[in-house]
């Protein structure tokens, strides 16, 4: 089983520092890359060129933008609820860092190895809603409030199919237990341990996307909704709510929301990779490379979808969740449970 940072560093504070440093580096680089990549993907789809000026094919454009954002004045509008307004970006941003530390990115080394990793990730995902609502309420702006309202309803609703579509994986793993042999080592297997989920897929050579295609689809759609990506970007629907919950934010506070959005995308894609695409499993190339490659392919798919479809209306979004995704995922879960019991 992989070694954690605690195993490597020995000292918990040192491990914590190294973990946060590592996660922050990865997330920052990811944000810088994703913004550039998103602009490039949209440009390709729309037959434009995208950023071309700063650096080779505009690669340094986001760096320049980030510097610009850092240099901008932080405007605090009159009439905002100051504590909430100031705290909100941090509340959106902090759970992202915590969630990112749970993902097993390689076979040998991980940041943490917790038996309830899956639950924790969903929990941190749920935290972000509080930050978004604080932003919406604290801004004292009707567009922001509408955006926040939509966001809460959407995120809470879509957590259900998200979890329901992850459950069959937990069942599949648990069905292999209680003890399972991985590379000659017997371990007490746990369906909610992300490292175990990856390890089982690598060991059997069957990625769960083959066993659970419906769950994969539902999970992916739910991830889109959870990360407020088009066609589910109604909390920040540009053409309706100007910018939704972050309408009143400027400078680096706005930057933090952006940061959180792209980090959420990465975490969602990584989680999907772990659950359905075998995580770091793959031939020739080292594990982490495969891990990030798969995650970025999923991110590319998310961008592709965003730049193809129009946006759903709020009530349609909810109908889609409660009328299609949740029943489907429940049926899928029951069928999986039944088949596991029978086979």
């Amino acid at each position: 089983m992989p070694r954690t940072f605690l195993d490597i560093f020995g000292n918990p504070l040192l491990a914590l520092g190294a973990g946060i440093g590592g996660v922050m580096t990865v997330l920052s680089l990811n944000t810088l890359f994703c913004i550039w990549f998103e602009r490039k993907v949209s440009a390709w789809i729309q037959r434009r060129m995208g950023p071309m000026e700063v650096g080779f094919h505009g690669t340094l454009q986001t760096v320049a933008d980030m510097i610009k954002l850092l240099g901008k004045q932080l405007i605090t509008p009159r009439g905002v609820d100051k504590p909430l307004y100031h705290l909100a970006p941090l509340m959106v941003f902090a759970p992202v860092v915590a969630a990112a530390s749970l993902l097993p990115f390689s076979k040998t080394v991980v940041l943490t190895n917790i038996n309830i990793g899956l639950v924790l990730i969903f929990m941190f995902g749920g935290f972000a809603v509080i930050g978004i609502f604080m932003a919406g309420w604290g801004s004292n702006n009707k567009y922001a409030l509408l955006g926040a309202m939509r966001s809460i309803a959407q995120n809470i609703s879509y957590e259900i199919p998200l979890i329901l579509s992850a459950l069959p994986i937990v069942l599949l793993i648990s069905a292999k237990g209680p003890m399972y042999e991985i590379e000659g080592e017997m371990i007490a297997i746990n369906g909610m341990n992300l490292a175990h989920i990856t390890a089982v897929q690598a060991d059997t050579g069957v990625w769960f996307v083959l066993l659970q295609p419906v769950a994969m689809l539902i999970f992916f759609i739910a991830i889109l909704a959870e990360t407020n990506r088009a066609p589910f970007d109604i909390p920040e629907a540009e053409s309706e709510l100007v910018a939704g919950f972050h309408t009143e934010y400027s400078g680096m506070r706005f930057g933090l929301f952006f940061f959180a959005e792209y980090s959420n995308m990465l975490i969602g894609s990584m989680l999907a990779t772990v659950l359905f695409f075998g995580g770091w499993d793959g031939p020739i190339l080292p594990g982490p490379v495969w891990f990030f490659l798969k995650a970025y392919l999923l991110i590319f798919a998310m961008m592709w979808i965003r730049w193809t479809f129009p946006r759903l209306r709020f009530d349609q979004l909810m109908t889609f969740c409660w009328g299609a995704l949740i029943p489907l995922s429940i049926v899928n879960l029951l069928v999986t449970a039944f088949l596991i019991k029978v086979l």
């Binding site: 037959r47 060129m49 592709w304 479809f309």
Partner: protein, 184 residues
């Protein structure tokens, strides 16, 4: 059952959409990186106006007839001018256009009797003040005296020729008129 067919149909339409954008993704961009690559302006492009330099005159041919001043919907043209000592042609002495007001409608060019107005190809000019006045005669000032001199000479020659012709005609006429007298 219709529940599932609806979902399937919807999914199919979404996949079709993704296919279309994927096909577009493989094509070349249609945009230009503007300051580096400049689009070609069309021949007829309407921009700021200027005076034509006629080859045979070596200068403009504005005769200060005020047609453009009268027709300009933005009231942005101001012309001074009139008769110059010694030549027949009327000449403009001031042709000021306030381009901050000009809307490039082209009425002045249509109305010009001597066709001495034309569009330039300046597409990125901007005024920085409320009044952005150019005197279109400025590029021609140096030629003006020369032109007037030349014109005076040619006018004089023309006048002389005309006078000669007239004299000849008068003579001929006189001759024809005289003839009957001579004849009998």
């Amino acid at each position: 059952m219709s529940y599932f067919t609806t979902i399937a149909g919807g999914l199919k339409s979404l996949v079709t959409g993704l296919g279309i954008t994927a096909r577009q993704m493989r094509r070349k961009p249609v945009t230009l990186t503007y300051p580096h690559v400049k689009p070609e302006l069309s021949e007829a492009y309407r921009s700021l106006i200027s005076l034509v330099q006629f080859e045979e005159l070596e200068t403009h041919d504005c005769i200060a007839c005020m047609q453009c001043v009268k027709i300009c919907p933005s009231f942005c043209i101001e012309i001074d001018g009139g008769r110059v000592e010694g030549i027949k042609r009327m000449r403009a002495s001031k042709f000021e256009v306030d381009f901050a007001l000009c809307s490039m409608c082209g009425l002045c060019i249509d109305v010009c009797p001597t066709d001495t107005l034309e569009y330039t190809k300046l597409y990125d000019e901007a005024g920085y003040e409320r009044e952005w006045v150019y005197d279109l005669l400025d590029p021609f000032r140096d030629f003006e005296d020369e032109f007037v001199e030349r014109q005076r000479v040619s006018d004089a020659r023309e006048a002389a020729e005309k006078a000669a012709k007239r004299a000849a005609a008068a003579e001929a006429k006189a001759a024809t008129e005289k003839e009957p007298e001579v004849d009998p």
